[in-house]
């Protein structure tokens, strides 16, 4: 589904990714771990198409198309979803209204009829239960006044409604207490499917106790330094990232 080859990315002239390669297939769950500043968030932002990230060389193909040629909304229409590390507040814009606009833009792209308010609301109510999101959140302004945990739950709720093919979860576990983590992880697990790939970016092994990955990658110094299964994460937890660096 996603094939990244020898990707080099600079931000403000500073090289962040230095030859990253990664292949992700449908149905797989990948965890990307690594020290601060290794380029984890840069990777998710480049895949989602955020401005300000300059791809100096390399390629990203998504469903056999050149992902880098698409603008952010086209990527979204084609099934790329980013759960933000820091979801933004948009005052006055209704949470459900934004989501409905997103869903219908995607449906339009797929040649489907737009969902009317009634059909949409029944989808929304069902999905909100997935992350135990209270119905009152649906009518509030996007992320405005939400707690850290509520914002993250809202991201996973949006993911559930938008039904992406490739979901990038950028530090979705950060700032969550243990109960919230269980709820969010439970939601993600219910969204695992054979057609969907999930990429979790995280600092902590803790998340992987709840969402078991098929692959664990260590990203350091702009490259994937090591790939393994779940046991790699446990080893990292025990020995720290220095262990990877020393073994380069």
């Amino acid at each position: 589904m996603l094939v990244i080859k020898d990707l080099h990315v600079s931000v403000d002239g500073k090289k962040i990714l230095k030859g990253l390669s990664l292949t992700i297939n449908a149905g797989e769950v990948h965890a990307i771990m690594g020290p601060n500043g290794a380029g984890k968030s840069t990777l998710s932002n480049v895949i989602a198409g955020r401005d300000g990230y300059e791809v100096t060389s390399g390629s990203i193909s998504y469903k056999d198309e050149d992902l880098l040629e698409m603008n952010p909304e086209e990527r979204a229409w084609n099934g790329v979803f980013l759960a933000f590390q820091y979801p933004v507040e948009i005052p006055g814009v209704n949470n459900t209204y934004l989501l409905k606009a997103g869903v219908n833009a995607k449906r339009k792209h797929q040649g489907l009829d737009e969902l009317d308010a009634f059909d949409f609301m029944s989808v929304v109510k069902e999905k909100a239960q997935l992350v135990e999101l209270d119905a009152s959140f649906l009518s509030r302004s996007v992320n405005e006044g939400f707690s850290g945990g509520e914002k993250k739950r809202n991201e996973i709720f949006q993911m559930a409604v938008l039904e992406p093919d490739l979901a990038l979860l950028d530090e979705t576990d950060s700032g969550l207490d243990i109960d919230a983590l269980r709820i969010v992880a439970g939601g993600v697990n219910k969204l695992r499917s054979a057609d969907r790939a999930i990429v979790m970016i995280t600092h902590y092994q803790r998340l992987l106790d709840y969402i078991e990955p098929d692959f664990v990658h260590v990203l350091a110094d702009g490259k994937i330094q090591k790939t393994g299964d779940k046991s790699l994460a446990l080893k990292l937890e025990e020995q720290g990232y220095d262990w990877v660096q020393e073994n380069l």
Partner: protein, 485 residues
């Protein structure tokens, strides 16, 4: 993801949908202003002698005044002798008896602008708004007169009111905005041509929304309308005002006066969607909108609200105000002003608290893009007898791009120690974070900007009647979006 520059380019491409000209023969006075012109206007309108005397008095005073320069706007001064002060479509001499008498070209014009002048639409349930359509210097049609008459409501062109209801007009005209109030009000008092008159009798709740639609069509004319609305004791009315003009390279002057009188327990809700031609992206052409709007809560427990959505005009100079004389009276001001390209706006409100327990609320949302400059200028005055007066002011500015500016000039005068004032102000830039977030969820950049801006304006749009909220939303789209190039 577009940079600010790209966003600005899009904004620069706004289209002005109302920019067409109606090709209709008009009777237009030659340019110039003197006593004869005023006598002529008064004669065309078949006005009583007292009205002419009132106009001439205003004119004499105007001659001694000079144009105000304190506003933070910069423009080529108007040559008052180069403007024509009266222009009317030829086909009518003194107001059509019914819609059947209205020139089809005019009906077509209003249809094109989306203003329903055909009453059958009401029967079909499409609209519940009575409209007075003012084309250049005259009212060309007023709908639903008979239905309103049944309820005792008077809704007619002010020129007709001066003839038909002289006592009412005489009692109230100039009682809120005196002839000599300011330069533009004095000019308007001398040469006003048409506008709407509304009287809601005691205890009557107006059965439908009232609306006046102002259209400037003729070249080199000014529009000087005068609106007078009186809500007698316990009366209630909601009034809407809309404005457009053709796209022209010359600046045109619009100097209106609006007076609202609210007696005991009465309420007026006055909403404006102003979309005068704003000039092109280089600042050529556009309407000078120099308007005096004032409401007088003369009675106890009187209530008034001004809600305005302003996207048009090259220059705006406008401060809808509330005089809160009656005890427990309430004044509200909700405003969204959008300035793009080279537009300049100096706008705000005045809340004058005189009575006890008077309350006022000011919510002002300014959006600037391109090279536009916008100022909020507001005065809150609490007089010495205004026991327990309260004001809440919130001014938010949203900037799109880095060449535009937002300025806030709040003036506060408090002479009573029991008064309470709150003031909040924010200035923010439309965040690339917000745009990216929306795009990641599948919205185009254009839709994302629109959604964020509409969210920013929500507090004000919520105050608009349904029909206008939709119109306002659409206007914002046209004003701020343009096509993605």
């Amino acid at each position: 993801m577009a940079s600010n520059k790209e966003i600005q380019e899009q904004l620069g491409e706004r289209e002005y949908e109302a920019g067409f000209v109606t090709d209709i023969e008009s009777d237009t006075l030659p340019p110039g202003l003197n006593e004869d012109v005023i006598r002529h206007i008064s004669a065309i309108k078949q006005e009583p002698e007292w009205m002419l005397a009132w106009r001439l008095e205003a004119y004499q005073h105007w001659l001694t005044m000079s144009e105000p320069t304190w506003a933070a706007v910069d423009y080529t001064p108007t040559d008052y002798q180069s403007i024509s002060y009266y222009s009317a479509p030829k086909s009518k001499d003194d107001g059509p008896e019914s819609l059947d008498d209205v020139d089809p070209k005019l009906l077509e014009t209003y249809e094109k602008l989306g203003i329903p002048l055909r009453e059958q639409e009401f029967l079909a349930g499409v609209t519940n708004v009575a409209v007075d359509a003012v084309f250049d210097s005259v009212s060309v049609a007023t709908t639903f007169k008979s239905k309103l008459t049944e309820a005792g409501v008077i809704f007619c062109p002010i020129s007709e009111a001066i003839r038909e209801y002289p006592e009412l007009v005489k009692q109230y005209i100039g009682s809120v905005v005196p002839q000599k109030d300011n330069f533009f009000a004095a000019l308007n008092s001398a040469v006003f041509t048409d506008g709407s008159f509304v009287y809601i009798p005691k205890g009557v709740r107006c059965p439908m929304e009232l609306s006046t639609y102002f259209r400037i069509n003729a070249l080199n004319t000014g529009q000087f309308e005068r609106t007078l609305i009186i809500a007698d004791e316990g009366a209630h009315v909601s009034y809407l005002e809309g404005c457009t003009a053709p796209q022209r390279d010359e600046n045109q002057l619009h100097a209106a006066v609006v007076e609202l009188v609210i007696l005991d327990d009465a309420e007026i809700k006055y909403a404006t969607v102003q979309n005068w031609y704003p000039g092109d992206e280089n600042g050529v052409g556009g309407i000078y909108n120099f308007v005096t709007k004032r409401a007088d809560c003369r009675g106890n427990r009187a209530k008034v609200s001004w809600t305005q959505v302003e996207t048009g005009s090259a220059i705006t100079w406008k401060y809808p105000s509330c005089i809160l004389q009656g005890d427990d009276s309430v004044g509200k001001f909700f405003s969204v002003a959008v300035t793009t390209n080279c537009q300049q706006a100096d706008t705000g409100t005045k809340m004058i608290h005189i009575g006890k327990n008077t309350k006022s609320t000011i919510i002002s949302k300014g959006i600037s893009a391109g090279k536009a400059q916008q100022s909020y200028r507001g005065l809150v005055r609490m007089g010495k007898n205004a026991e327990n007066a309260r004001n809440y002011t919130q001014c938010d500015s949203l900037l799109l791009g880095d060449k535009c500016g937002a300025h806030t000039f709040p003036y506060v005068e408090v002479k009573n120690p029991t008064a309470t004032l709150e003031h909040e102000a924010t200035t923010s830039k439309i965040g690339e974070d917000q745009l990216f977030y929306c795009q990641q969820r599948g919205l185009s950049e254009e839709d994302a900007v629109n959604m964020i801006v509409n969210g920013f304006c929500k507090d004000v749009f919520d105050e608009l009647p349904m029909e206008f909220a939709v119109e306002a939303n659409r206007l914002m789209e046209v004003s701020l979006e343009g096509s993605v190039g």
